[in-house]
């Protein structure tokens, strides 16, 4: 008889769905079926059991090929790399649990590393804006139960957070939103009509890169001030109409994503969006929430925040925590040749950094800890595969609304495979020995 594990947490995106059900074979070793997950979560659970998965660490050879080595050799190589490095970069962290992140930070303190996470290419600019103007936010549960005005600005949850709209933001029948979708009005702002904008009651095809102007125009409209005929390609009548729709709600939320964090105005866009939220609170109750990408990038920000005082790009090389985006962020450090070793974990900069940064990683002593084969693992000197958090080991993760949820272990990892936390503990222990601090 198969057994079904309920309340499984999906370890893919920041929605951190907590209602997944996994059907296991009799002996509890094989995942037979995954219920409730989206296409991406479903693929993650199933692929974790693929036969072609790397099971042991692999060391790069002079001819560019990779040879299998033991975990002990991998620990030694990594520890030696840290011990010899003056300013290593420890990047990633977003696809592992908070417990592992914390162990990694101990290595960072000991070696004077820069600790950066995937926010550096995702919501880092959001974090900069939050430091400038604060952020009125709430939980996804409050959205589900209260929100009747949903604004998606520069994000496409239909593709990036597939169950977000069903579980929290458009379709659910909540306490004060008993009519589900019919209780809500949806506004979407995107330079392309998308699968998300198809669900909008009001869609604004903003000129690409001009979100800043449109955000400020909404603020202007809210206060009844005059606007030019068009702003960012949108006629002023539509802006006034949108402002009235926003004002008329009882509880509104602005969800935003890369369309505003990665375009040229970057943190200034988010600043304007947060100020729009604050202005809307003069008329109604509004919150704003970033659509975090990885399932535990928020957790990395939390752990870094409470341990060092900053949510990403933390430079420990001078023995104190320093933070200066543009100076201590990964892409800038790599471009300027300011780090001498790179340790990547739970992320894939090889695929998601501009290629000029990746070329720098390929030339440096480097280690990539990742259960998959990725462009990062295939250019680093050492690839260490580990167990999947949320499938083969548990551990804490934070959802996009800063709610901590403990992930569950559903099946055993492959024989002899370490978890991120176990590998980092071994490296930490060896680095302490090498530095005479054991």
């Amino acid at each position: 008889m198969t057994k079904t594990v309920t309340d499984v947490i999906c370890p893919f995106c920041g929605t951190l769905c907590d209602d997944i059900e996994v059907v296991l074979s009799d002996d509890g070793k094989k995942i037979v079926e995954v219920m409730n997950a989206c296409a991406i979560g479903n693929e993650k659970f199933h692929h974790s059991q693929a036969a072609d998965r790397p099971k042991r660490p692999r060391m790069q050879q002079p001819d560019g090929s990779y040879k299998e080595v033991s975990y002990d050799e991998a620990v030694e190589f990594t520890a030696q790399m840290f011990a010899k490095s003056k300013k290593p970069l420890m990047y990633g962290w977003s696809s592992t649990n908070c417990e592992a992140q914390s162990v990694g930070h101990q290595i960072a303190e000991l070696t004077g590393a820069v600790v950066d996470n995937t926010a550096t290419v995702c919501h880092g600019t959001t974090l900069i804006a939050v430091q400038d103007v604060g952020i009125p936010s709430c939980t996804l549960g409050e959205i589900k139960n209260r929100a009747d005005r949903i604004i998606y600005w520069g994000c496409n949850p239909a593709h990036a957070h597939p169950r977000h709209m069903s579980r929290y933001s458009i379709f659910p029948r909540g306490f004060f939103t008993g009519k589900g979708q019919a209780s809500r009005k949806v506004i979407v702002v995107d330079p392309r009509p998308t699968d998300t904008s198809n669900m909008a009651d009001y869609y604004y095809q903003v000129e690409q890169g001009r979100d800043y102007e449109l955000l400020q125009a909404f603020r202007t409209a809210l206060h009844g001030h005059p606007l030019p005929d068009t702003v960012a390609g949108i006629p002023k009548e539509k802006i006034y109409e949108g402002a009235e729709v926003m004002k008329s709600g009882r509880f509104g939320i602005i969800f935003f994503g890369m369309g505003v964090t990665q375009t040229l105005s970057k943190n200034h866009n988010i600043d304007a969006a947060i100020m729009l939220t604050k202005d809307l609170n003069e008329f109604s109750k509004y919150s704003i929430m970033p659509m975090r990408g990885h399932y535990n990038v928020t957790g990395s920000g939390e752990v870094l925040g409470w341990q060092f005082g900053f949510p990403y790009a933390v430079d420990l090389s001078r023995g104190i925590a320093r933070y200066n985006p543009g100076d201590t962020t990964s892409n800038d450090l790599l471009r300027r040749g300011e780090v001498d070793a790179v340790f990547v974990i739970a992320s894939d900069p090889g695929a998601h950094f501009p290629i000029s940064s990746v070329k720098k990683i390929a030339k440096l002593p480097s280690v990539a800890v990742d259960p998959h084969f990725t462009p990062t693992t295939e250019i680093c000197k050492l690839h260490v595969p580990v167990a999947f958090v949320g499938i083969e080991c548990g551990g804490n993760a934070y959802r996009m609304d800063n709610v901590p949820i403990d992930t569950r272990k559903v099946v055993e990892p492959p024989e002899g495979m370490l978890t991120d936390e176990q590998f980092l503990e071994k490296v930490l222990h060896r680095v302490r020995e090498l530095k005479g601090a054991a």
Partner: protein, 133 residues
């Protein structure tokens, strides 16, 4: 042959998400992300059939991808390459002191390249990294 100027943006798709979880070493990753979605108007200007390979060039690099119909549009003047090493071969790496490369809004030139091949993801990154040595 015709060349057109476009504004390039990049981001997530469901197919990209499924492909990365299925394994970036597989052809499915290239099929999901080694593409540029073009508006019908821009296809006419280029004068090529759908699914022809094209060369996309910016001030920062050049890459071969397959030109496909825009799945979410219309968006004349905009080109869409899903996030991944193909897009990241040509996006603007400048962070302007924010730490964030400018992934969205890179001016590019697109020209037909029917005889060139689209590389697999890992192959593309490895080749680029070796080119400097």
């Amino acid at each position: 042959m015709a060349k057109i100027q476009l504004n390039l943006i990049s981001g997530r798709t469901i197919q990209q998400g499924v492909a990365i979880e299925g394994g970036k070493e597989k052809p499915s990753y290239r099929d999901a992300c080694g593409i540029i979605e073009l508006d019908a108007e821009d296809f006419s200007k280029l004068g090529i059939y759908r699914n022809t390979n094209v060369r996309v060039t910016s001030a920062y690099g050049t890459v071969i991808v397959k030109a496909v119909d825009a799945t979410q549009g219309p968006h004349p003047g905009l080109g869409w390459i899903p996030m991944g090493p193909w897009a990241n071969s040509i996006v603007n790496p400048n962070t302007y002191s924010t730490g964030m490369p400018t992934f969205k809004g890179t001016p590019v030139e697109v020209e037909p390249a029917p005889n060139e091949t689209v590389l697999l993801g890992i192959e593309l990154v490895q080749k680029a990294c070796r080119a400097e040595t």
